[in-house]
């Protein structure tokens, strides 16, 4: 009989699935069948001739059911429109709102992108005068909003409570406080620049004069204000302007890394280092010159032209010597007597010359010089720095002074208070000793926190804090401009803002941030609640004309002398008495981001360690104490001990240990992975908010800790991947970069008539010109002079492109997923080699003197490099590396399924759905920029489960495949962080940088939509910014259309410094780099005639090469 597909069992009115082509034609026969309730043969079953017939009938229909002719071939998907269309909202079009991320000393002005009604990416606000990009914390803050471990409930003594009850409790506290003028009430808050908070703080001071307001930051930046106020006699804070400074001296000030304003300083510093053209008339004035004195290896140290490493306690003495020299050379010795302090530093001849020449250089640039001191250094160093600034005429030129609010009381002032309200800080973790005293005497502790952290657990009332992306508020950027903080989404967990808590404490039961902010704004704009002004404020994100005016002050030499007189010199550290530095971590700050997966997996810009903190130690110290990388030591000071694994860090000061703050937590899916804390807690060792302590001792703890480092190779091995020159060499030969490596030595290759190299395989654009678009060809340039290695671009890329985190275990196997990486190379001082050239050392090492600390063996095993003397004072270069989008891409020709192809605009594109996971493309890529999804990283639960060594012990969902699920509370919230414009990749698929294809297509589409019926389809210059370009605080990355000769990228590619990495492979990468130019002072000691990467390169490429030595004349110049 004819096989008629049986009727789908759903009723007529419900979802109905398509059945057969006949239905479309509405054939009468099928109509008749459709109307029957039961399959055609069913009624015959009552008189079934045989079971065999029945089986034939049923099996036939079931078989056909497998072909989908019955229902369930296509699952029903629904579209859910609005009930009432919101005004001005179009689904699918991202909206951007101006907001700001508050920092300790200011705010980062942002433009946040809202997709489908939730924030998914933050960009810098282009309307703000700073124009300074973002830092990695701002980029990662989006994930912080969607952290499944966020505080989600109001808690009363640990039990979930209702919001109304919590607010009631605040009212009770407010009433009690009002009754006795605030006696017994202490409020602990972190530093904040918000005008609303300042207004409410003043209101509290007025209404509750006996209440204590303590300001506490684990990483304290207030020393800058303190020092500036001391030396000028007014309450001021310094505003550093690095752009105008030609000579900069940093006294342990990591202004490119861990200082609070790092993103703005980076932009300004980069302005002073970018080169438009080689103007030989300027000579050494072409770019700025940076001298650093520091203890840790920092990003500022990376960019330094001359670096002196000293233990942190000795910086004061060195600063005193420098100040003495500067005063002497300016003829102003009488102003300040620094001799006692200066004499305490043991001087060797090199150091004395270093100080003298550095001072000479600074003095020669009066008015364009700047001396900065770090937030971890004591007041004396800052006073000395400002003394030098005064003599060098920096005030008014490279330093502006702005009015600052009075300092708050220290944390200890809250001891003894009955009711303690903690706003956002986490003193139980960061200041546990003082906090235990406070907690002892406090009857009620109210904690407003983003996570139920250490303080939250001890609190009577824990209130979930609203993230800045879901709050109303305001802040001031460091130049004083008032910026708006506006929410992009309603608070996910009904959290409160600081202002709301303060409002409640002032007795207002309906305090809400919107009204409070609006009232502040009205006060700032002199009067009425003007709707138009408010709308403009929210639209622009800033209040025009609100920048702080410069305050002038005269230098108070007496006060400076008094401050210096209070300082006693500290003896230098030794093997038995070590110094310990506590520094703000580049990933987790002071601990507030420990649960942020993106930041944990970000390779530390200095050490390239992930998911860990280490005890940073110098080679000399480790050798003397008999330790090696990974050994766990126990550090003791002030009766407390902390254990952590050591990591030998090139460039570290001797007998100094560097500990990063913020690790060693005991809660959180990310922060305490598999019930083991990530890293170790350094806070117990610290006294107060000290930047460093002295007199610590350390001994081995007889175990090791596995560190995972994403870049084990420390040297360039003589390859000119990064090309550098000194300023004078660059001016003598501006195109030096094009003559390094094999691509500069092409005399022996066959050439075409036009001079280009004759290829075996012609470029497809030459053989098939129709393949290349005539409208756009994309290219990118990375300026190595501007890049400091801060890694904000890495996080921006991760945020924009839905890049998953993989965990420490997988990174150990080299499976990290970052599309961009920052390569960091150390280069050796050639005089630290055994004899003669690097090649001679190489030869001698091949014959067996590996392990000799005086050699630079360029082929030795990486474990040995940590024992070599050359790493003590290296030169460092950083290089962002992402897909180079080669025109002759080696990855494209080897893909068996053509999943990676070249598009007509010069990009190498990935079609994820086509990829079968051969991984041949990654194998063939010489730059190693392709990343493979070994597991379904996007589906894995974040932290839990055993991620141990054995394959069979895994139960973390790695192998769950398409059926795998994350725990429910992770699925919904983490999905919200994803960018809907980019595919989320599954297991088995290769991915890599796409030059932000979604942004390119978006811009092309916008342009075409605007063009409509015209031919104006070429995207305008500046319409597309890749995520990395937009986030970069230094503005090091430029992207654009290379067909347009006036585009920024075309102009940069025309520069002489432009070169391709591994250009000799003739793959013609679209991403090129501008060679780095350093500004070494030929008068400085240390034999800094030649850049050491160039020395290494030349010694490999030229067997007769001899390195420059100190006694040689002026630089011979690059070949």
């Amino acid at each position: 009989m004819k096989f008629i597909p049986p009727v789908c069992p759903e009723p007529e009115t419900g979802p109905q699935y398509f059945r057969s082509p006949e239905a479309m034609a509405d054939s009468a026969q099928l109509q008749e069948w459709a109307e029957r309730e039961f399959p055609a043969g069913a009624s015959e079953l009552t008189v079934a001739e045989s079971r065999r017939d029945f089986m034939k009938l049923m099996s036939a229909s079931f078989m056909l059911a497998g072909f989908g002719l019955t229902g369930c071939r296509r699952p029903t998907e629904h579209i859910y429109p609005f009930g009432k269309q919101p005004e001005g909202y179009l689904h699918g079009v991202a909206q951007h709102f101006a907001t700001a991320m508050p920092t300790r000393t200011g705010a980062i002005p942002l433009l946040a992108k809202s997709s489908d009604g939730r924030p998914t990416k933050v960009e810098p606000n282009p309307l703000h005068p700073d124009q300074a990009g973002t830092d990695q914390f701002a980029q990662a803050s989006v994930l912080g909003l969607y952290d499944p471990d966020r505080a989600q409930h109001f808690r009363n003594k640990g039990n979930i409570a209702k919001r109304v009850d919590a607010l009631d409790a605040l009212s009770q506290i407010s009433k009690r406080a009002a009754a006795n003028g605030g006696r017994g009430l202490a409020i602990i808050a972190e530093s904040n620049s918000s005008p609303t908070r300042a207004r409410l703080q003043a209101a509290i001071a007025a209404k509750l004069p006996n209440a204590v307001w303590a300001t506490y930051d684990a990483v304290d930046s207030t020393i800058h204000t303190q020092a500036a106020s001391l030396v000028t006699g007014k309450q001021v804070t310094p505003y550093f302007k690095f752009a105008g400074a030609k000579r900069i001296l940093s006294l342990d000030c990591d202004f490119l890394g861990s200082e609070d304003e790092m993103y703005r300083y980076t932009r300004d510093f980069a302005k002073g280092r970018k080169i438009a053209k080689p103007d030989s008339a300027q000579g050494f004035e072409l770019i700025s010159r940076l001298y650093t004195v520091e203890s840790l290896m920092t990003l500022t140290g990376f960019s330094a032209d001359h670096r002196m490493r000293v233990a942190p306690s000795q910086v004061a003495a060195l600063a005193a010597q420098l100040a003495a020299e500067v005063l002497k050379q300016s003829g102003r010795t009488s102003l300040l007597n620094t001799s006692t302090l200066a004499a305490s530093l043991k001087v060797d001849v090199t150091l004395k010359n270093w100080v003298a020449e550095c001072a000479k250089d600074l003095v020669a640039h009066k008015g364009a010089a700047l001396v900065v001191a770090g937030q971890g250094q004591p007041l004396a160093v800052h006073v000395l720095a400002h003394a030098m600034n005064e003599v060098l005429g920096a005030f008014g030129k490279t330093i502006e002074l702005h009015d600052a609010p009075a300092a708050g009381k220290p944390l200890a002032a809250a001891v003894g208070a009955e009711t303690v309200v903690v706003l956002g800080a986490n003193p139980a973790y960061t200041a546990s000793e003082t906090w235990s005293q406070i907690a002892k005497s406090a009857k009620t502790i109210v904690h407003l926190g983003s996570h139920e952290d250490e303080t939250g657990k001890t609190a009577t009332w824990h209130l979930p804090a609203a993230h800045y992306l879901e709050s109303w508020g305001d802040a001031r950027t460091s130049d004083g401009t008032v910026v708006a903080i506006q929410p992009l989404i309603a608070p996910l967990f009904a959290g409160l803002t600081e202002a709301e808590v303060l409002g409640h404490l002032l007795g207002n039961p309906i305090a809400n941030s919107y009204s409070l902010t609006r009232e502040t704004f009205a006060a700032l704009t002199a009067g009425a609640l003007d709707e138009e002004k408010w709308k403009k404020f929210l639209h622009d994100g800033l209040l025009e004309g609100s920048a702080a005016p410069a305050v002038s002050g005269s230098f108070n030499w007496t006060a400076a002398a008094t401050a210096l007189g209070l300082v006693t010199a500290t003896p230098a550290p030794s093997k038995e008495k070590l110094e310990v530095i506590f520094h703000r971590d580049a990933s987790v700050d002071d601990g507030r981001y420990t649960n942020n997966g993106w930041l944990q997996e970000l390779p530390d810009p200095i050490t390239k360690l992930v998911w860990d903190n280490a005890v940073l130690i110098s080679r000399e110290t480790a050798t003397q104490l008999g330790w090696k990388n990974g050994d766990v030591i126990a550090i003791s000071a002030n009766g407390r001990t902390v254990e952590g694994g050591i990591w030998i860090q090139p460039g570290m000061a001797d007998f100094t240990l560097g500990l990063a703050l913020g690790y060693g937590r005991k809660w959180g899916r990310i922060a305490s992975f598999e019930d083991k804390s990530v890293g170790f807690d350094a806070y117990p060792l610290r006294t107060g908010t000290a930047g460093f302590i002295t007199g610590a001792s350390a001994k081995s703890a007889n175990r090791t800790h596995p560190f995972i480092c994403t870049q084990d190779h420390w040297t360039l091995h003589g390859r000119p991947v990064v090309r550098e020159a000194n300023v004078d060499q660059f001016l003598k030969k501006p195109d030096f970069a094009k003559h390094m490596d094999l691509d500069g030595h092409t005399e022996f290759l066959a050439k075409n008539p036009d001079g280009s190299i004759k290829n075996i395989y012609e470029h497809p654009y030459k053989t098939h010109p129709e393949l290349a678009s005539k409208s756009h060809q994309w290219g990118m340039v990375v300026d190595l002079n501007a890049c400091t290695g801060c890694s904000a671009c890495v996080i921006a890329c991760q945020s924009e492109n839905n890049i998953p985190i993989v965990g420490k275990d997988q990174v150990a196997k080299g499976r990290e997923m970052h599309w961009m990486r920052i390569d960091r190379y150390y280069a050796a001082d050639p005089r630290k080699k055994e004899t003669g050239s690097i090649l001679a050392a190489f030869k001698s090492n091949v014959t067996g003197s590996q392990g000799n600390p005086d050699t630079v063996n360029l082929v030795e095993r990486d474990e040995l490099q940590a024992t070599k003397r050359w790493i003590d004072d290296p030169q460092v270069v950083t290089q962002p590396m992402m897909c180079q989008h080669c025109e002759n891409a080696p990855c494209e020709s080897v893909c068996p399924v053509n999943a990676t192809a070249h598009d007509d605009e010069g990009l190498n594109v990935m079609a994820y759905n086509r990829c079968v996971g051969t991984r041949y493309c990654a194998n063939n890529c010489a730059w190693k920029v392709r990343r493979f999804n070994f597991f379904d990283f996007n589906k894995r639960p974040i932290g839990g489960g055993k991620m141990a060594d054995s394959f069979f012990k895994l139960d973390i969902g790695l192998y769950k495949g398409p059926a795998g699920v994350r725990p429910g509370d992770e699925v919904d919230i983490i999905s919200m962080a994803r960018n809907p414009d980019v595919t989320v990749r599954m297991r088995g698929v290769m991915e890599k940088c796409t030059f932000c294809q979604q942004r390119i297509e978006g811009a092309k589409i916008s342009q075409k939509v605007k063009a409509g019926a015209s031919n104006d389809v070429v995207v305008k210059e500046g319409a597309i910014q890749t995520a990395c370009q937009q986030a970069c605080p230094a503005g090091a990355i430029t992207f654009g259309n290379i067909l347009d000769p006036n585009s920024a990228v075309s102009k940069l590619k025309k520069q002489d410094r432009n070169y391709s990495v591994l250009g000799f492979l003739d793959n013609k990468p679209r991403t090129t780099y501008l060679a780095r130019i350093r500004n070494l002072n030929p008068a400085m000691p240390e034999g800094h005639k030649q850049i050491w990467t160039v020395e290494e390169y030349r010694s490999i490429s030229d067997p007769h090469f001899m390195p420059e030595s100190k006694t040689d004349g002026a630089a011979k110049g690059a070949k």
Partner: protein, 216 residues
């Protein structure tokens, strides 16, 4: 020695190979025919929660597509209208009709009407409506004569080969911008070669065939 295997097994390898080829061929053909978008998707006409008829609204009443699908000119997504759009007329026309109960409830309470999605591209395909309707591609090319449908039907395959037909030869399907939403417009004889080609040239139309155009 007697034969171990019966004689007919001599033919077995040949039969297996031939049979395998035949079966393989049939399976391949079957899958190719039945499981491609052209067969699997075309004709899909799910039952919608509200019996909305495009024939009545778009053809008989003459409503422009954009009255309801207002986002199509600016967004990648051509939105299904909010219930408030329906209520613009239906607060007077058929205002108590039981067929519109869900719409009224939606407009009043915000609870969405659970329309069944018909046209859907896979997650790794990024299709943008705005760029198509602003550059001379009419709704009818991909959605069929919607203004004649009482129930919306999946009219074309919308597979990659379908998109490439037009991307490789835009002149054949392009029309003047003012006719994009006129679903009844018929291209005059030979328009593709003359008018269409002219539009492609004048507007600098290069739809692009690279993977990056649709796959991000």
């Amino acid at each position: 020695m007697s034969d171990i295997f019966p004689k007919w097994t001599n033919k077995l390898p040949a039969m297996v190979i031939v049979g395998g080829l035949i079966v393989g061929g049939v399976v391949t053909a079957g899958i190719t025919y039945y499981m491609t978008p052209k067969y699997a998707r075309v004709g899909y006409t799910p039952v919608q929660p509200v019996a909305f008829s495009h024939a009545i609204h778009a053809d008989q009443l003459g409503l422009d597509c954009r009255y309801c699908h207002n986002g199509v000119e600016k967004s990648w997504y051509s939105n299904v209208p909010a219930a408030s759009t329906c209520m613009n007329c239906h607060n007077q026309v058929l205002k108590d009709d039981p067929k519109l109960a869900l719409v009224r409830e939606s407009a009043a309470t915000g609870k969405p009407v659970p329309w069944v999605q018909i046209h859907k591209t896979p997650d790794f395909v990024y299709f943008n409506h705005a760029v198509h309707v602003n550059r001379g591609v009419s709704c009818v090319h991909c959605h069929g004569p919607v203004n004649k449908m009482d129930e919306v039907r999946h009219s074309k395959s919308l597979g990659m080969s379908f998109c490439l037909e037009c991307h490789r030869d835009p002149a054949a399907k392009i029309r003047p911008n003012d006719q994009v939403f006129n679903l009844d417009w018929q291209a005059p004889e030979g328009f593709a070669k003359s008018g269409g080609a002219k539009l492609v040239k004048d507007w600098n139309v290069h739809p692009g065939e690279s993977c990056s155009v649709c796959h991000r």
